[in-house]
């Protein structure tokens, strides 16, 4: 009786330890995110200026509008710098991530948070945890001013994050981005005071600004260009 109880106990222990190992080894890719985003999303409205070899991008004076909407899925308002084949990019702005639909970045439940993101040859880095943001209009920028492959991220003049070394990626095309994951959420974004860093390390105004590929890929939103340095994204039916 004692022997069989011991065997039973060992079996139980082995089973439970196996469970522990199983839990520890469950690949994260097997954990599904709750699906809320539309097939084919994210939906993006992107503006870009001319040129493709900039050391950084900034919006300031006044800056990027921050909205605290009732977001049930995902929303992004961001600036980014990328290379020509999309294998390397950096991105700064704010994010709503209700339900962890976006990779790496923190979940949000309430106000948006700072977004600082880096992508290098399929690998991901980001700021996590990240601070809550209040509604308003704040300055954001990301640049590699000393051209060493390490990108520096700023919010309201404060450096909030640095990327891992992304050499030789130290410049690229700059763009702004208003994004949503489904049509239930607004895509409203506003970027006023857009500049980019030139090879001398100075920020100069965007010019010849235009929608990327000539249109938004969000069929429910449209872009608004007020000037080369001021763009926005609004829902269809809402005039610029």
């Amino acid at each position: 009786m004692r022997g069989s109880a011991a065997i039973s106990l060992r079996s139980e222990l082995r089973l439970l330890l196996l469970s522990a190992a199983d839990i520890a080894l469950v690949p994260l890719s097997a954990v599904p995110a709750v699906a809320c985003h539309d097939a084919g999303s994210p939906w993006n409205t992107i503006y870009k200026p001319n040129g493709s070899d900039w050391l950084g991008v900034q919006v300031s004076s006044p800056g990027m509008a921050i909205y605290n909407g009732d977001v049930s899925c995902g929303r992004v308002s961001s600036l980014f710098v990328r290379n020509s084949d999309w294998t390397r990019w950096v991105e700064v702005g704010w994010i709503e991530n209700a339900g962890s639909h976006y990779a790496c970045v923190p979940d949000t439940n309430g106000p948006p948070k700072i977004l600082a993101y880096a992508k290098f040859d399929g690998m991901t880095g980001c700021k996590n945890p990240a601070s809550d943001l209040s509604e308003g209009t704040d300055g954001f920028k990301v640049h590699d001013d000393n051209q060493n492959g390490v990108w520096r991220y700023f919010h309201s003049g404060n450096e909030v994050w640095t990327s891992f070394d992304m050499s030789p990626f130290n410049s690229g095309l700059v763009e702004d981005n208003g994004e949503r994951l489904n049509f239930s959420n607004t895509a409203h974004s506003d970027f006023d005071g857009l500049t980019r860093m030139n090879s001398s390390g100075s920020f100069t105004d965007w010019n010849s600004t235009d929608l990327h590929d000539g249109d938004s890929d969000d069929s429910g939103s449209h872009g608004c260009k007020y000037s080369d340095t001021h763009t926005a994204v609004k829902l269809n039916g809402t005039p610029c």
Binding site: A33, S84, D85, A116, K127, F164, S167
Partner: protein, 213 residues
């Protein structure tokens, strides 16, 4: 008979303890994977992470595997050109893998950024760009990158500094691609291959300058 309830209680207690430990171990493991080891952050938070199933990158970045999709332009912005013209347009030496000689790559150039991309069918892309003068030397940089990004190992290929990232050294959720970075006389060449790491290294070993045409 009287011992049975005690044994049962003991098993139940032990079961709960081990179950709690299992949950704790699992939670710690998941938390570690989500958070990653600390590095040298500004702002107190830096991490490398990998996407969960169904997650997307914020921003309009296209899927990494799109570089192998011949229906999509390899470069945007950029122009398609001939292999022979690539060097003069990019104003640098362009390297071609001899291991796939006989195949004519789809060749893309962004002259402004001096980026060159060679696409061979749907399984191999070679991306080339000048190494920045202001960056640390390639060998030092590759060592740092392998450590920071927690991917692959460094060494030399044909005498040139290299960073080798086997597909199975990548985290779950990262693209199933072997990647080799090799720096040849100031040109950073990245091989993206839907192949084994041995095949990707062999491709990198076979890189030779393209004659300008």
């Amino acid at each position: 008979m009287t011992s049975r309830p005690l044994q049962a209680v003991g098993r139940i207690r032990l079961g709960w303890i081990v179950a709690a430990l299992a949950v704790l171990v699992g939670t710690v493991a998941i938390a570690f994977q989500l958070s990653g080891p600390p590095s040298e952050p500004v702002g107190g938070a830096t991490q490398k992470s990998s996407p969960l199933s169904g997650q997307v990158d914020p921003g309009p970045g296209r899927d990494f595997m799109a570089i192998f999709d011949e229906k999509q332009p390899l470069f945007d912005p950029g122009t398609e050109t001939s292999l022979g013209q690539a060097s003069s347009l990019a104003k640098m030496t362009v390297y071609e893998p001899q291991a796939v000689s006989g195949s004519t790559p789809e060749t893309w150039v962004n002259p402004e950024t001096q980026e060159v991309g060679l696409r061979y069918g749907t399984g191999l892309v070679v991306y080339e760009v000048p190494w920045p003068l202001s960056a640390d030397d390639p060998a030092t940089t590759y060592d740092r990158q392998a450590k920071q990004w927690q991917a692959g190992y460094t060494g030399r290929i044909s005498g040139h500094p290299a960073w080798v990232i086997p597909e199975d050294s990548r985290a779950p959720g990262e693209p199933p691609v072997s990647v080799v970075h090799v720096n040849i006389d100031g040109v950073d060449v990245t091989v993206y291959a839907k192949a084994s790491i041995d095949e990707a290294v062999a491709i990198a070993e076979s890189l030779q300058p393209v004659a300008s045409g």
